[in-house]
Amino acid sequence: MDLYLPIAEMPINVLTVLAVSAAVGFVSGMFGIGGGFMMTPLLIFMGVPPAIAVATGSAQIAASSTTGTLAYWRRQALDMRLGLLLLCGGMIGTVLGVWAFGALRRIGQLDLVIVLSYVTLLFSVGTLMMVESVKTLAAKRRGQPANGSQRVHKPWYFKLPFSMQFPQSNLKASIIPLVALATLIGFIGAILGIGGGFLMVPALIYLFRVPTAIVVGTSLFQILFTMLAATVLHAATNQAVDILLALILILGGVFGAQFGARAARNVRGDWFRLMLAVLILTIGVRFSLDILVPPQEPYSFGTQETRR
């Protein structure tokens, strides 16, 4: 069943897009990541112009994270205080990132930066998580207590000034590293056109030792508001949001996310981390194949601007 998209100006198969968005939604609900880093490349692969894929994808991420946020909020697995703090940092980072995006595009190095940062980020985050979770799982099997997550000494960055209590996350730390982290992720997210959940989730788990269950809900909460802002900004500045495509993506995505959140409840923490690591590494491999394997067709052409 084909439907013509009014802004993307192309017909698209509704069932295919529904299936893809449901699958991405499932993963996003399960791991508390927006799923933008999977959805955007998939849409571009289907022929949707990149600008429209990025902008419309943000609406879908907003919808999926609404459902996810509500689900975690009902189970009280959401630290509102931490979420709001991260949101502040994220907004600063987004503004800086949008500015850097323009600057990089002017020097003509944007493509290079995007590809390299994707590969670097996915591989380093994925490998770190993989090593960590395999270690924990192996230690458990041998009957030893996992030592990684129960260290007594707090890292130095917890003791910086402006300390704040986050009872729900069982965290008492300076807000400086937290805001800095959110700013950095917001910055990277704006350049790469992603929500940054796949960075936020492991960072909160490993750097701040927030319980896994709380991290996912809190990360989704932050992504929700970032993506709502992104949708409106993209629509206002680039006219790149296709409401019909957004509707199809949302329908698939929200239901997928719902099942994903449900599935996550039955998975133990260590296995959860291992699965997320495998997912991130897989996508990293996929991206690096793009730039490592000699292309069959070295040429490509950009979107053509025609006079109306």
Binding site: P6, I7, R74, Q239, I250, D290, P298, F301, T306
Partner: protein, 248 residues
């Protein structure tokens, strides 16, 4: 005054020199894009009007039709090895390139005219890509043609004009679904014995109607409201799904 007379004289001379003229018509002048649009087909009819004085011709007529979509700037990029990785490095810009191009004829072009005249009559994609005088598309230009063909934006159908009677012909013109909106120019040339006898031009437009037009206009004219509506839709569906799936 003398110049004017000279011009007038030359026009009449040209007119009498031509034994044939062409009249063409399209089945549809406007293609409407609605939500089920997946490309379109048009039918072109043509009639050869002969001058009575040389009613017989040894060679059969041949027809070449070109359908040219809206033109614009295209940037072609080439991936190159940079250290261990492949990146888009070099690029070349092409101005005034038709977004879509269809060449349709009665027979393969080389059978219609000698290969040396192919360029003159625009029977190769190269003529539409390269600046005047350039010989053959290579590198970036050849890649552009290849990519356009892969995307089915450029196509050659060289046995697809049929004569219904010795003087009347018809052909179907394809409009690719991903072709841009705007004016498509149709050029029809009549050949016999390797010589172009007559030429005619027409056009059709592709535009959005109904719901598609409404959405496109709102997105352009009220960007902020449109964005807010999309965001509200996202919130709404997200909430709805969580209500439907709630199992307390």
């Amino acid at each position: 005054m003398r110049a004017l007379l000279l011009i007038l004289a030359s026009i009449t001379w040209l007119g009498t020199a031509r034994a044939e003229s062409l009249v063409v018509s399209l089945s549809n002048q406007h293609i409407d894009i609605n939500s089920t649009y997946a490309g379109a087909q048009l039918v072109l009819f043509g009639v050869v009007i002969r001058d009575g004085r040389n009613a017989t011709r040894a060679d059969a007529y041949d027809v070449l039709i070109s359908v040219k979509g809206p033109a614009g700037l295209v940037t072609v990029r080439r991936k190159e090895l940079f250290g261990p990785i492949w990146l888009n490095r070099e690029q070349q810009k092409f101005a005034n390139i038709p977004a879509t191009l269809g060449l349709i004829s009665t027979r393969p072009f080389t059978e219609i005219v000698d290969s040396e005249f192919l360029d003159r009559f625009g029977m190769r994609f190269d003529n539409y890509i390269l600046p005047k005088g350039a010989v053959q598309a290579d590198g970036f230009a050849a890649a552009l043609i290849r990519l356009k063909q892969d995307d089915r934006l450029y196509a050659i159908r060289d046995r697809d004009v049929s004569f219904l009677s010795p003087d009347v012909f018809r052909a179907t013109l394809d409009v690719p679904a991903t072709g841009p909106l705007g004016i498509y120019n149709v050029e029809v040339s009549l050949f016999a014995g390797g010589v172009r006898l007559a030429q005619a031009e027409t056009f059709f437009t592709v535009g959005k109607v109904g719901f598609e037009q409404l959405i496109a206009r709102e997105a352009r004219d009220h960007g902020v409201l449109y964005g807010m509506a999309t965001a509200a839709m996202a919130l709404c569906f997200g909430w709805l799904a969580s209500v439907i799936f709630r199992r307390d």
